[in-house]
């Protein structure tokens, strides 16, 4: 399938497809349209016909299903995708962000002697070929990467591709009998997807409320927690407040803490010194509330409110909770 794009569709044990995979399928459909070819998906495990066909709504023309391949591990999927790409002649393999996408894409690189680009934030068509854009060096530059030969492997950054659904279209389901390589059977899942509720991993949160010295005292972190609760997000902290014992180190963001890139970073009482900035500057949307109009954070936020967080936060929390329930 010259110019065709094959996408891996990850799903959980209940058969719900991962939203990054759906985003990748939509993106593949868009690009395939420009290339004049087709987007298709690969699914492993016991997923029913309806669920597979439903991927057509996101733009997959065909869905290749390997029922007997085990789920949740990368190498069996490498075997399946290598076979499909070989048999059908796809020119590109595309993955939404996430661990398995990286592992499968990397395995395919070796298997098919193919070029791979990861952490891709955008893909474009140039002279009938796909060019992947990816940030490098802590997001200080963006490079355009082209491929030599085929296929080319594109692994997206988390949340890079948005899913778009159109009613009606159904994909053709094709069952594939993939021979697993000997080493693909050497890793076996014992338990999959165990939730550990207690530690909220701030690196995975889509919405983060960051609290800084402007909160005034340890107890005021409650304001941040309540807002996070209302928004379905998690709470992060600056080094200064972690130092002062107001919040645990696991929540620290910055040069000597964690680096995050959530959909929304809402900074309250944070001045925005560079040591903190480098830990959250890639956030998609940055909102800041600070009473000092000269705070550096106002220079790189998307929405800045100069005001007293003690007045604003409680009202904001209330309004959001109301909106969500109402």
């Amino acid at each position: 399938m010259a110019g065709g794009i094959l996408v891996y569709a990850l799903h959980d044990d209940e058969g719900n497809f991962n939203k990054n995979s759906l985003g990748a399928i939509s993106e593949a459909a868009r690009l395939a349209g420009e290339l004049g070819s087709e987007a298709a998906a690969v699914v492993v495990g016991e997923i029913g016909d309806d669920a597979c066909a439903g991927l057509g709504a996101y733009g997959a023309k065909r869905v290749f299903r390997a029922r007997s391949a085990p789920e949740g591990l990368a190498q069996p999927v490498v075997d399946v995708m290598a076979k499909v790409i070989g048999d059908e002649g796809f020119s590109y393999a595309l993955f939404g962000g996430g661990l398995l996408g990286f592992e499968i894409g990397a395995g395919l690189t070796a298997r098919l002697n193919a070029g791979v680009t990861m952490e891709v934030t955008a893909v474009k068509v140039q002279e009938g070929k796909l060019i992947a854009e990816r940030p490098v060096l802590q997001d200080s530059a963006v490079v355009d990467v082209g491929y030599v030969g085929e296929p080319g492997i594109i692994i997206g950054r988390l949340n890079a591709f948005d899913a778009s659904e159109s009613a009606g279209a159904q994909a053709e389901v094709v069952d594939v009998d993939a021979q697993l390589s000997e080493w693909s059977t050497k890793a076996r899942m014992r338990t999959r997807g165990e939730q550990r509720g207690a530690d909220v991993n701030i690196e995975d949160a889509e919405i983060l409320i960051g609290g800084g010295r402007g909160l005034g005292e340890k107890d005021n972190f409650k304001l941040a927690e309540e807002l996070a609760g209302a928004m379905g997000g998690a709470v992060a902290a600056t080094r200064a407040v972690v130092d002062a014992g107001w919040y645990p180190y696991a929540a620290q963001i910055g040069q000597t803490g964690k680096t995050v890139a959530p959909k929304l970073y809402l900074a309250v009482g944070i001045s925005g010194a560079i040591q903190h900035k480098v830990g959250m500057q890639s956030s998609e949307n940055i909102v800041a509330i600070n009473k000092d109009q000269n705070a550096p954070i106002f220079e790189f936020c998307d929405l800045g409110i100069v005001g007293d967080l003690h007045k604003i936060l409680p009202k904001l929390t209330e309004a959001i909770a109301a909106k969500r329930s109402g």
């Binding site: 972690v242 180190y249 000597t256 010194a273 560079i274 040591q275 000269n294 550096p296």
Partner: protein, 565 residues
């Protein structure tokens, strides 16, 4: 309410730095010569020693598996060194006679043109004829951070062991003979507790120990106390803050300035000036130096440098440019009379800035440090051949060398400036012209910690950072490459509940924003305030030592990673 820092001494006992070896004998690390400090003095010493040992297999064998070990607390040699600098080439010629300055990877250019300006708020008045102490023809603009890296590479090629990320925590002494040093622990938490990956230090026993610790002189201070080696006048310091800039127009001359933004009134005692040196075609460096005997508690060298850059004479040079490096370090400025009265005791030699071998009027110290390192190597070599631990020959070499001559000639040039800029300038000029003869005697000065601090309003003129030309301290600290572990133990020794003016002094003095006064206490006018210490910001400049604190050594590898300052 004026406050004298000396009344609030740091909670630190210099005697804690001296200890006997404690490791079981078979666990001690044995080296021939232990050199503490991977800067110009220590590395010149290591290079010279390896050169001498290359021709003496007998002594090399006697010194064991590790004949020379250089112990450096930074991540690399040069990570913690900073200077202007215009270096006199004499020491490099001696150590590396086969290299010409064009081959020096740490040098930018020979100084062919220099000028001195007196700055006022708006103008820059060239001083002609140029005060002779500023003349730098024949010298080379270098980066001492790069020089250290070069010297370390050469020392390693010759077979010296350069142990970076290693702190020398104690001086090992028994029977009043120096036996080596103890290396610092790694892997302690904030409260000093041992963490999971705790690695204790080791006793590094050596036949000869060279303390080349630079301006901080950590173990040196302990040694001077213990062995009674203090000079007749106290050690004192200046603080220098420096930036490197990529520029669009090359600078054609080495520049020194005096005057603005420092104030002339004797009351504020603001000795210092700035330097602006070209670094090849596309870079220059700019720095401001201020004596730490200043008396205004709001003086901030970092902010004075930012203020300096707004002067039209300077901002023009930086237009369209980009700041690429930043750093800060103190300069020992006590000169001749503050040098230790002896540079050696059995088993020990002290060289370089740690021994105050800096000529402040001419701003020279690097080549003295290297020459001293070379002398120390030669004396130690000769002594160890005879199985002797008496390195007095080193002392004699220094005393009969140019180091002694130059420092003696300029011995009273710094002190008069406490009488104000004009009187000080006049006296200093007289000294230069008469080669130190007039005025003679010994011009006394207070210790930096004896200067009373009061609010003199210097901070009112500091510019708000615009993040293009001027910057705040945290941005600067970031640029120094400082990324210290957050839960590292606090290495800064200061009292944490002190009079307001003293706390303000520390807050403003420190170029890295280590000290802070809680907002409410700042606002409510309390006479005594708490001082919050963020030790992980510290770039180890040493300024706090001049105003009531004592900088001890953090874990090896912590602190800045200077590349080009």
């Amino acid at each position: 309410m004026a406050v004298e820092p000396k009344q609030y001494p740091p909670p630190f006992d210099e005697r804690s730095l001296i200890a006997e070896p404690t490791d079981p004998e078979d666990e001690r690390i044995e080296v021939g010569v232990a050199v503490v400090g991977g800067g110009p003095a220590g590395l010149a010493c290591a290079n010279r020693l390896m050169d001498l040992l290359a021709d003496d297999p007998g002594l090399t064998e006697k010194l064991g598996e590790v004949p020379v070990a250089v112990i450096e607390k930074g991540k690399a040699c040069g990570a913690h060194t900073l200077s202007g600098a215009n270096m006199k080439p004499s020491a490099m010629r001696e150590l590396f006679g086969d290299l010409s300055p064009e081959d020096w990877p740490f040098a930018y250019q020979e100084v062919t043109k220099d000028a001195v300006y007196l700055l006022t708020k708006k103008a820059a008045l060239p001083l002609k004829p140029m005060p002779p102490n500023f003349r730098n023809h024949g010298n080379y603009v270098i980066s001492v951070a790069k020089l250290s890296r070069f010297l370390a590479e050469k020392a390693e090629e010759k077979g010296a062991y350069v142990l970076t990320e290693t702190v020398a925590d104690k001086l090992l002494v028994s029977d009043r003979i120096v036996r080596g040093v103890r290396s610092g622990d790694r892997g302690r938490g904030k409260e000093g507790q041992e963490l999971g990956n705790f690695e204790p230090g080791n006793d590094v026993v050596a036949k000869a120990t060279v303390l080349a610790e630079g301006t901080l002189g950590h173990l040196t201070q302990g040694a001077l106390d213990y062995f009674g080696l203090h000079g007749s006048l106290p050690v004192r310091w200046e603080l220098g803050v420096k930036e490197v800039w990529k520029v669009t127009e090359p600078l054609d001359r080495v520049i020194h300035t005096m005057g603005w933004p420092l104030r002339k009134r004797a009351k504020w005692n603001e000795f210092g000036g700035s330097f602006i040196y070209p670094m090849g075609e596309d870079k220059l460096c700019i720095g401001l130096v201020i004596g730490l005997d200043h008396s205004d508690s709001t003086v901030s060298c970092h902010d004075l440098l930012q203020q300096l850059k707004t002067h039209p004479f300077v901002s023009k040079m930086l237009e369209g440019g980009e700041r690429t490096a930043w750093g800060a370090k103190t300069i020992p400025s006590g000169g001749y009379y503050s040098m230790p009265r002896s540079l050696t005791v059995p088993g020990l030699a002290i060289a370089g800035d740690a021994a105050s071998m800096v000529n402040v009027p001419t701003l020279k110290g690097i080549h003295y440090a290297m020459h001293a390192g070379i002398y120390a190597a030669e004396a130690i070599f000769e002594a160890l051949k005879r199985d002797s631990l008496n390195f007095e020959a080193y002392d004699e070499k220094v005393r009969s060398s140019q180091i002694e001559k130059d420092l003696f000639n300029s011995r009273n040039m710094r002190a008069p400036f406490s009488k104000g800029f004009f009187l000080g300038g006049a006296v200093a000029s007289a000294m230069t012209i008469t080669q130190g003869v007039f005025p003679g005697g010994k011009w006394r000065y207070e210790e930096d910690t004896e200067v009373e601090m009061a609010d003199g309003g210097a901070e009112e003129s500091y510019p708000e950072p615009d993040n293009k030309l001027t910057f705040n301290k945290l941005d600067s600290v970031f640029l120094s490459g400082n990324a210290t572990r957050d839960d590292a133990p606090n290495h800064v020794r200061v009292q944490t509940h002190v009079p307001r003016e003293l706390a303000k002094t520390w807050v403003n003095l420190c170029p890295a924003q280590v000290y802070e006064i809680p907002d409410e206490q700042l606002a409510n006018g309390a006479a005594e305030v708490d001082v919050h210490v963020t030790a992980s910001n510290c770039v180890q400049c040493g300024a706090i030592n001049a105003k009531g604190g004592r900088l001890t050594m953090p874990e090896g590898g912590d602190g800045p990673l200077y590349q080009e300052v």
